[in-house]
Symmetry: C2
Subunit: 211 residues, 2 copies
DNA sequence: GTTAAACTGTGAACAGTGTTTACCAAAACA
DNA sequence: TGTTTTGGTAAACACTGTTCACAGTTTAAC
């Protein structure tokens, strides 16, 4: 490889990096604006203005508004995934794991309501249509839950039954709490935690195997 | 009252009725369009066009888009209320009543997803801010639930506890099922009913008083 | 009966939105 | 040195909710 070729390659690389940097700038600005304004007010033109570019420029880096938004949402989902997986690996006891998963789920919803809202309430289609070869979210969020349930059943810690149905029930219960807290101002964080704690007992009690 | 006065009054009445009729036309057209297009696409200008009037005319009958929409939502809420109250009065047994209320709640959500979505997921503020002297929705939907819970507790049918917390848990559970079915296509009506039926048993079991 | 006031509806405009297209300057290539 | 590709943009299009000045009509007052 001669000098001219090396120069050419370096130039290409630099250009490519600059392109990636601008793309990242749009992504960061979009995420910032999205978390500031929420899903409803989030506007492409505002992203462009804040980033210091014309609205049309964004279309050279993203297909359209949905495309840009889906990447922002993905950041939120990765955050959720990380916290959820961390809770899953925090213990080996199936029951303790289920409790930890429930807590992690609710924690995420309460700490990142805007992300939660868009991921699980408004634009769930972004998660349902698998992106970049990944599996569906149901896989990661509820494979882990279902696995814990399965283990608990096999260990005789809870009643026998269909693990998938149990998993969906688990999801519905957690989602109900978080979604209500987001939609209804009266449903404060404190209230959610109290209902969750108090009623979790009855659930566990009802799930105990007949002795 | 002489002839001239009577004529004047009749004329006034006619004008007033025409005004009410046009207002109702806007309301009907809006409800129709809303149920057709959903909350996101619902547009004032489309309502105007379909009703055969200029967009500006609507502003003589409603404050703004939100005002018009809130009246549409109210129709949906009245429907919900009717079905919910009907379920409540269908039996005197507290446990049976709770089960009937749960079923009615889920039925409404599955049969009127667009109304449910806007009432309980997107624009809950419309219900929270009391309109036309009515009480808050929490009152009607969950007074009835709380009452049944209270009765069940007093009759010794379920464990003692805070009826409000029990009511919120009931709500969260039902809302979780319905909200997931609306957000996640995989959560079919069939699946919701199955999870509801299967898991209701465990809930009831867990709530049974220690014997 | 004439005049003034109130009512009813509208066209046009404003400030937004997402998106497309033609164009321009600068860089890369031949 | 042309020539071609690239990165960015202004302008336009088709929408949105909302406001406002302005008509035509109906009512009220003198």
């Amino acid at each position: 490889m001669n000098s001219a070729e090396r120069l050419r390659e370096a130039s290409l690389q630099r250009r490519d990096q600059e392109k990636q940097e601008l793309r990242q700038l749009f992504l960061d600005t979009a995420a910032e604006l999205f978390l500031e304004q929420g899903h409803e007010r989030f506007s492409l033109r505002q992203v462009a203005e804040r980033a210091g570019y014309s609205p049309a420029t964004i279309y050279h880096y993203f297909e359209n508004k949905d495309d840009l938004l889906s990447h922002v949402i993905d950041e939120g989902y990765q955050l959720f995934k990380k916290q959820f997986i961390a809770a899953s690996t925090s213990t080996t006891d199936p029951i303790a794991r289920l409790i930890a998963l429930g807590r992690a789920y609710i924690d995420f919803g309460l700490q990142h309501p805007i992300y939660y809202q868009v991921i699980f309430m408004r634009r769930s289609d972004f998660l349902m249509r698998p992106r970049s070869g990944e599996q569906q979210p149901r896989a990661v969020t509820f494979q882990v839950v279902q696995q814990a349930i399965q283990e608990a059943m096999e260990a005789g810690l809870i009643q026998q039954g269909d693990a998938e149905t149990f998993g969906d029930a688990f999801w519905a219960w957690m989602h109900g709490l978080v979604a209500l807290s987001i939609s209804m101002p009266m449903f404060t964080e404190e209230r959610v935690r109290q209902v969750h704690a108090e009623f979790g007992r009855f659930l566990i009690q009802g799930l105990q195997p007949a002795s």
